[in-house]
Symmetry: C2
């Protein structure tokens, strides 16, 4: 901040004893009306209304195969990865996520920049984009743990200093996903409401929250309210399906006792005009591999440089 | 046992270090062919093939309402119930199950004896039946825990001394159940295979196993095998739906982060000819409220006496 005036916080959270639902201040689709969208206008309208969009089988089977093989290779040679980017299950020590895959793997860098996904992100956010966070998620069969409801934006705002709702996520399914093996669950329409959470954020919260969320957890009543209004939809589909969702869409997933593991690649696209500031919560920002602060080169330029 | 000869154990389990899949020794439908079934013969054939049957909306809405009200009343006055029949969640201490409801509530006694359910049990088991176990299950919203895969018969045989596969369960849904709020998951065809589990059974195992299963847990490979052959089906439906399943059908449920709680009444019908003997595992049988040993009066006679 260059002035001495206190910074405005449009979305205060984790500052008091009472949860609150605040209205969204930014548009969902930032592109001006009548701009030609890169996909069917009806799909963009559904994204605007629901806060997400399921693009079935966007990737071809041979593309999925190559990504699955690359994901397996990353798991097989963990020594080649930056240690802190490997997140393990608390009990079994199995790898649950690998962060920063767009910077540690060529094929996942190409996937992040793939125009079939990135063009939609640029259109919806009406700006150049960079990768705020990327990761590979492995949810094992039999003993896959649940991930409780949350808005990503709540965390990115409080812990990372993302100023506004001008970011979106793409989850690229690398395994077939049904309603029964712990798919992504989304609450349609929830992206229009910011659930301000109770409690404060402890130091180094991120070390635990990547495995289990204890802070920034929405209260039962707000969740009931959002679900009563919008219901719950599973972002499921065949491998190669891409689920795009707004940074503030309430989502989570149940555990998975089925033998079918679930894995996906996950990219967060942020508008370059929405770069991180100082966190709105605790003063120390989370590390670069979780929330890009330096490496914010627009994806198109980055891809040209790599080519 | 009246003779000195060692008793035959058709389904040995928890006795060695290696899991095994053994064939089922008894029929699934015990009624002789060409007997007139109390429901559509096609439904009986599906039960025989899959090991379960979903009877959608078998109960009328007003019947469900009365049962839900009765279930709520039981929860509100826990002092009137036998203390040991109340099972609470380990962390929250919320009531997870109430056992022996057919003996502690008139309306649930009537439900257990309802000919729409009990007649099917008598037909399939080709015998008079009594209630081996009954309970009300409350799976809360938001933080409902999973219940791992198991065959009920494995436990009833090893811990309770149920000699043969001549019992079935009825789960009566008291809330709407979807694929997303932790429904009963069943593996079609698994009832034909007995998964002999590794490990032994500690004393007083039941005190913990009602909340979490640590023994009598099928191994990953056997589960993969069964699921590869039969898949997984959710026993979901509107409130009032009844799911009937064979005592040896592999089943479980995922956790439930949705706001929708899930509750059901559960009755196990055992053929009077299949009454409990000494357990095939540890010598001390589980208590009467979990596994009826004395109170084995056939349901029809019991109902006449109560009328």
């Amino acid at each position: 901040m260059t002035t001495g005036a206190p910074r405005e916080d449009r979305y205060p959270s984790r500052i008091g004893g009472h949860p609150k639902i605040l209205p969204r201040m930014e548009p969902v689709v930032h592109a001006p009306a009548r701009t030609n969208p890169p996909i069917d206008a009806g799909a963009i309208a559904r994204y605007e209304r629901d806060g997400f969009l399921v693009l079935e089988s966007l990737l071809q089977p041979h593309e999925v195969e190559a990504l699955v093989a690359a994901a397996r290779d990353l798991l097989r040679a963990p020594d080649r990865l930056e240690t802190e980017t490997l997140i393990r299950e608390r009990e079994s020590q199995e790898v649950r996520s690998i962060f920063k895959i767009h910077a540690q793997s060529k094929i996942f860098a190409a996937l992040a920049a793939d125009p079939r996904i990135a063009d939609i992100a640029r259109f919806i956010l009406d700006d150049d984009v960079y990768i705020h966070q990327s990761r590979l998620n492995y949810k094992p069969g039999f003993r896959g743990k649940e991930f409780y409801w949350h808005s990503d934006f709540e965390t990115w705002h409080v812990e990372d200093g993302m100023p506004a709702m001008r970011a979106l996520s793409a989850s690229i399914l690398l395994t077939d996903n049904s309603a029964l093996n712990g798919p992504l669950l989304l609450v349609p329409g929830s992206h229009r409401h910011f659930v301000s959470c109770v409690g404060e954020t402890p130091d180094d919260h991120y070390k635990h929250s990547l495995r289990r969320q204890d802070y920034g957890v929405p209260d039962d009543q707000s969740l009931e309210h959002l679900v009563a209004a919008g219901g719950i939809v599973a972002g499921a589909g065949k491998a190669g399906t891409v689920v795009l969702f707004d940074c503030n869409t309430m989502h989570g997933s149940n555990g998975n006792i089925t033998p079918e593991p679930r894995s996906n690649a996950f990219f967060v696209y942020n508008a370059v005009s929405n770069r991180l500031e100082a966190p709105f919560g605790p003063p120390t920002p989370r590390p670069e591999f979780i929330a890009a602060r330096k490496d914010v080169e627009p994806l198109e330029r980055r891809a040209r440089r790599a080519a």
